[in-house]
Symmetry: C2
Subunit: 356 residues, 2 copies
């Protein structure tokens, strides 16, 4: 649908859905009891190898899931290969595994097929989707509704944030810390709501400096690597910037050589065990003459940044990706409009991706 | 060391080491018996969850390891989070796991630390490195020498290819198919040797068309996703192109929107269950007006490519990444020189990366 058809300016839906995120998080919390029951079943079955599958923003959220399960119940979680079972037809033994299929639409073909195969192979399968009637929801043993309400902009925002929260809450219940996580998500929604107006103003100013940027890196590590991946994807799809996500450490293993003053870097810093790696990367970035945007809960601890876009620290700290993605979403929204693009409906994309 | 100090033209070492790869593969095969013993120990211990860790080219090779273990012994392998155990200090229970630490130098600090912790946590630990006296080799229970001889160009080539082969051979022995894999690697070395002169000529011509390219995607799927990652890294570090690797399917989930006639795509196609996904991506790429380079064993099956750089099919087919990376290495070598850059010593990089 063109802006004329939806009756608004370009990007109206995208920014509206970013603003809806706090409300979407609160709606997810209404499903806390269902999520607790699924966590109990994971414990009862001792299905403690967690296999996460998805594409695009869902796969970015899966990067967060690795840390949610690793940090809360201390279980091993992985972004599993879809290709191995679906395209190469290799039936793995999945007893002892929980499979979490992530798809906003619930219609991503190879995710649905993977989940069906995993269920046959003995996994406990959980669908996380925004559509309770979707094929994915019906294929799995259990179902977590994202409760984000319809997402109309092509680029995902509130479904991404709710996928993060659903994974944190599920992992929290597995660790018998569900109450603490639910409270934390509620407080994060409040922090997000009070922070969005200020972030809209600061990212709009920031976007002016990036009107002609063609290439960027977005770096983070640990829980914030998911944020780096998601911000890079927003910049690619809405602003047509060649934005590549990298861990702070992988930046030093080669890619740093490509940087110059026309190749800026967005860095997400958290006050946790990964801070030193991001600070070290920031030094290398400055040495290459590249402009640096420091974001995240520890943005102020990155020296020499040209721009700083901090977010408040939630409690527990592993919820910081709920907040740190928002400046990136708003920056993409402002920058797309500054470049004359419509972030609601990027050229060449449809909302539901049915590519295999 | 500058070209003047090493007595050669820019890129002399890089191209010499690409040409040495067949000989390096044959040297690795001299260690077949040691690799077979390590595979036997993995079986004896039933350590069938394989955790691969590394950065840069080593992490790219880990992407291949997921398929080598998935396709040969049908074991689950994953690129594990280093951050979780090293930076967040979360001690996972690693009984039943084989840990494979990958580092050409054997000195990558967090890989060494991860391996030490994993050994304490009950994993069977294997070091794969080019330096038998390195800290990584000493920290692990077992050690596979890459036998690539010293690699002097900063951008890895022969150590990458030998890491792939070491993982294939190890997975082959775990599956009791070691002899078949060793023979296959030997034949792949012969195919590579006879193919390099022709590929040097064709990629030199190809490079002329890309002198001013600033952004690229490199796509592959399944076994060839490792190749896509490694070629993108070579282009980043030696040619300063913002080259991002994507699976053929993830391209459709957003990034395709950034493409235009100044944003070409290098696609690696194999004649396996993933071919249709790469063909479908190629259609989307052409629709966006982007130039396409088709490479890999099934390059000729990609329609509408502006350039085609095929490689022969090895046997078994899962060894194709040994060959399909070579056109990308040679293209990076030719393009770097066409752009006046020295691929032996990219600005801002050192051979051994000690960043944490």
């Amino acid at each position: 649908m063109s802006p004329a058809e939806n009756g608004g300016e370009p990007g109206t839906r995208f920014v509206a859905e970013i603003r809806e995120q706090p409300a979407a998080l609160r709606r997810l919390l209404e499903h806390d009891a269902e999520i607790a029951r699924i966590a109990q079943e994971m414990r009862d079955r001792d299905a403690r190898l967690v296999r996460l599958v998805g594409h695009g923003s869902s796969d970015n959220a899966a990067s967060y899931g690795v840390y949610a399960f690793g940090l809360l119940p201390n279980w091993t979680a992985m972004r599993d290969s879809i290709t191995l079972t679906v395209h190469y037809g290799k039936p793995l033994d999945m007893t002892g595994s929980t499979v979490i299929g992530l798809s906003q639409s619930g219609r991503t073909p190879d995710v649905v097929e993977y989940v069906k195969g995993a269920r046959t192979a003995g996994a406990f399968t959980v669908a996380v989707t925004n559509d309770p009637g979707s094929e994915l929801a019906l294929a799995a043993d259990a179902f977590i509704p994202l409760a984000a309400e319809p997402e109309l902009a092509v680029a995902a925002t509130k479904t991404y944030v709710n996928t993060l929260a659903a994974l944190a809450l599920l992992a929290g219940h597995v660790a018998e810390r569900g109450g603490e996580l639910a409270e934390g998500i509620g407080r994060a929604a409040d922090l997000m709501e009070s922070g969005i107006p200020g972030l809209e103003r600061s990212t709009a100013k920031l976007a002016l400096s990036f009107s002609y940027t063609g290439r960027m890196f977005v770096i983070g590590r640990g829980v914030e690597f998911a944020t780096a991946r998601e911000i890079a994807l927003k910049l690619l799809e809405t602003c047509r910037i060649a934005a590549e996500p990298l861990t702070a450490t992988d930046l030093a293993h080669g890619p740093v050589a490509a940087l110059d003053h026309l190749f800026p870097v967005w860095a997400i810093a958290s006050s946790d065990g990964t801070l030193a790696t991001v600070q070290e990367a920031a030094t290398r970035i400055r040495e290459m003459g590249a402009n640096l945007v420091a974001s995240g809960t520890a943005a102020e601890l990155i020296k020499g940044a040209a721009f700083t876009v901090p977010v408040p620290m939630p409690e527990p700290a592993l919820l910081s990706p709920l907040l740190s993605v928002v400046p990136g979403q708003l920056f993409a929204s402002a920058l797309a409009r500054a470049r004359g693009l419509d972030p609601d409906a990027p050229h060449g994309l449809a909302k539901v991706t049915l590519a295999s």
